[in-house]
């Protein structure tokens, strides 16, 4: 019962978050459609092509008529950067493209204090909001007349502050004087009033809480602007981070992946062949491989750390294990996938067992092995980053983990982008190698 109520509370929280995200999602979809219409309009002025695809009259439902629109891809990527810039107040965008930012500058509000015996007086509070990173002291203000004296407060953008306005007043809270209005609008503890710079809330005890408007931009601590990330990239590329250069961090991650993958392939491929060619080996290793395959490599991290520590050996063992099963299964299915008529044909042409292996089984299994290698490289890359998040002295994952502890979101973001770019490059290289080395894939 208890768990059900907990889970439903979680579900409600998730759905609420999704609900708040809905306007943004719809806004994004509208942008996609808007750009689509713009492109349709632009296309009318481009000379029409008469290739096979564009002459089809039935395109809806014809899978082959749907190709990736390059213009859409370019606009999509540019839009990501524009949105990123707009919501971080980036300097690379003209300021009219920025989403409403946090209030900065000077504002003010007046409060009205009423004493139990019915006297009341107004005083003005000057609010100074400065950019994050600067330090500005609250300005000196003229106390003014009456028993309530003027105050001032300085706040960094996105921050709010309680202001004990009665501290300098002649009759304060200790004498049961209460604030009854802000800017002339009546207010009670717990209420709030909008002002020119944001809003003022009255706390439960009757102290004004100053909330300058935050706008809809992201604070740099959550999402730094693109140029900040770029600046970090150049800085770390030249000066390094945590005693290692950027190239060293990334190089170590790549080195682990490549060594682990190669070791996994060296053991896994022959293992897969043995399983594909011999009943005994198939029977022997099937339970092991089938059990290990669904175990996520990440689940092995604690064990590997216990056994081999956090050094290179442990990481390479982990990646070896990540690649091993994938490569073994790929090689096994590559061997089992050989058409029996090809093997028969080769025997009838006088081939020996070794020749069948060399000229039929191995080439026939290469496409599968390449597919497996692509998957394995992807898994290894993911696993190495995760392992470095847990424990490492160098590496892409370690870099972003340490940076997150110091709230250096720019480094975290830079690391994520670099990890993505490298993963993508690895996959592209594997595809390219595949096309070059096994052009017969899927043609048998």
């Amino acid at each position: 019962m208890d768990i059900i109520s907990q889970l439903s509370a979680e579900l409600v929280a998730v759905l609420r978050t999704l609900f708040y995200a809905l306007p943004y999602v719809f806004g994004y979809i509208l942008l996609i459609l808007a750009f689509s219409f713009i492109w349709q309009a632009v296309k009318r002025f481009v000379t029409p092509k008469h290739d096979y695809g564009s002459l089809k009259t039935v395109t809806f439902g014809d899978e082959s008529a749907v190709t990736s629109n390059t213009v859409a891809s370019v606009v999509s990527i540019v839009l990501i950067f524009v949105l990123w810039g707009a919501f971080t107040g980036s300097k690379i965008l003209p300021s009219f493209m920025h989403a409403p930012g946090a209030f900065t500058g000077e504002g003010s509000f007046t409060y009205t204090v009423t004493t139990p015996d019915g006297q009341s007086d107004d005083a003005t509070v000057t609010v100074v909001v400065y950019e994050t990173g600067a330090t500005v002291d609250a300005p000196e203000v003229d106390p003014g007349d009456g028993f309530a004296k003027n105050d001032s407060i300085a706040l960094a953008a996105y921050r709010s502050g309680l202001l004990r306005v009665d501290e300098n007043d002649e009759i304060g809270r200790d004498q049961d004087a209460t604030i009854t209005a802000i800017n002339g609008v009546a207010i009670e503890p717990g209420g709030s009033v909008s002002t020119d710079f944001g809003r003022v809330e009255l706390s439960g005890k009757g102290t004004p809480n100053v909330y300058p408007a935050k706008g809809v931009q992201m604070e740099p601590i959550w999402l730094p602007a693109p140029e900040a990330v770029w600046a970090r990239l150049t800085e770390i590329a030249t000066e390094g981070y945590r005693n290692s250069t950027l190239a060293e961090h990334l190089g170590f991650s790549l080195f682990r992946v490549i060594v682990g993958f190669i070791l996994g392939a060296i053991v896994g491929i022959p293992l897969g062949y043995a399983m594909g060619l011999s009943n005994w080996f198939r029977g022997w290793f099937d339970p092991i491989v089938e059990f290990m395959r669904p175990v996520p490599p990440l689940a092995l991290i604690p064990l590997v750390i216990i056994w081999a520590g956090i050094g290179e050996v442990g990481k390479i063992i982990l990646l070896f294990l990540a690649a091993l099963w994938i490569m073994a299964i790929a090689a096994r299915s590559g061997v089992s996938g050989v058409r029996i008529s090809k093997v028969h044909a080769a025997y009838s042409l006088g081939a020996s067992k070794w020749q069948i292996m060399r000229y039929v089984i191995i080439p026939n299994s290469l496409p599968e092995i390449f597919t497996g290698a692509r998957v394995a490289m992807g898994v290894c890359w993911g696993t190495v980053v995760a392992a470095e998040l847990v424990a490492a002295e160098k590496g892409a994952g370690m870099m972003i983990m340490v940076a997150s502890k110091f709230q250096s979101t720019d480094i975290v973001l830079m690391g994520i982008i670099l990890i993505g770019v490298i993963g993508f490059t690895i996959d592209m290289l594997m595809r390219w190698a595949e096309r070059w080395l096994v052009p017969w894939k899927g043609k048998g």
Partner: protein
């Protein structure tokens, strides 16, 4: 003793559920060197099984295959096989496919080249030597398969529906090619087909098999293959005797099919 003896072959498959299938029962046949035999029969009568036994891919439960005086115990280079499709090596070029047999024997490069060039010339694929096999049409691929088989100089050529996947026109051209190669090389050929017409055209001898258990139903000796060597196949088909035998065999196979269906419905 030359030629191919199929000596009292029986074949029984035990099925996992405990029952068994008698795929062949007491099949005997004597084939002299250079004879061209076509095999016809309703689906499931054991034609492929028989061919696989001759090729040595299956061991018969009873009986034996004797080629040139030697009992067959497995596949060998003296019995070449042409499959219906998909038996070419797609990772090799046309030239490498045809040269596969000689290469396995360790033949010298120059000699191998000569054989391959000659055979590709014979099957009319000289312009496609360096192409990948998947770039060729179905008919061209079967010509490669034929050339690959011939390059190995087998005594017997076994073909399991080699032209089954081709369109009618290509098929007719290929039938002419098979006859031409048969005459030129003097090989013993066993050819399985589903087409009665093809069996008549390409069978110096013709075997009609019957199912359950697979056995020889009737054997013919026919003049059409000999005629087809130097005549247009379309003229051969117009022979009155051709139509006569065709009708007879068609009727025979229809009867067998009906019997199978009837038995199934009865069961």
């Amino acid at each position: 003793m030359s030629g191919l003896q199929i000596d009292n072959i029986s074949m029984r498959f035990d099925l996992p559920n405990g029952s068994s299938v008698q795929a062949l029962k007491d099949v005997s046949l004597d084939l002299k060197a250079g004879e061209l035999l076509s095999v016809l029969g309703p689906s499931g009568c054991g034609k492929t099984t028989l061919l696989n036994i001759v090729a040595g891919f299956l061991a018969p439960t009873e009986g034996k295959i004797v080629l040139n005086g030697n009992t067959v115990h497995g596949p060998g280079a003296e019995r070449g096989m042409v499959f219906q499709q998909g038996a070419l090596f797609e990772w090799m070029s046309v030239r490498e496919n045809v040269g596969f047999g000689p290469k396995m024997k360790g033949m010298a490069q120059g000699q191998k080249r000569e054989i391959v060039d000659h055979l590709l010339d014979v099957v009319g694929l000289s312009d496609f030597k360096e192409k990948a096999v998947y770039e060729l049409s179905g008919g061209m691929q079967q010509r490669v398969a034929l050339a690959r088989c011939l390059a190995n100089e087998p005594d017997v050529i076994l073909m399991d529906e080699p032209l089954g996947a081709l369109d009618a026109l290509t098929r007719e051209k290929m039938q002419g090619l098979v006859l031409k190669l048969w005459k030129e090389t003097g090989k013993t050929i066993i050819l399985i087909t589903h087409s009665v017409e093809e069996a008549l055209l390409l069978g110096e001898r013709l075997l009609v098999m019957a199912p359950r258990p697979g056995r020889i139903h009737k054997e013919y000796r026919l003049p059409f293959a000999e005629m087809g060597v130097d005549q247009d196949l379309r003229f051969v088909k117009k022979e009155p005797q051709f139509a006569e035998v065709r009708e007879e065999i068609l009727g025979m196979i229809w009867d067998m099919e009906e019997e199978i269906m009837g038995r199934k419905e009865g069961a």
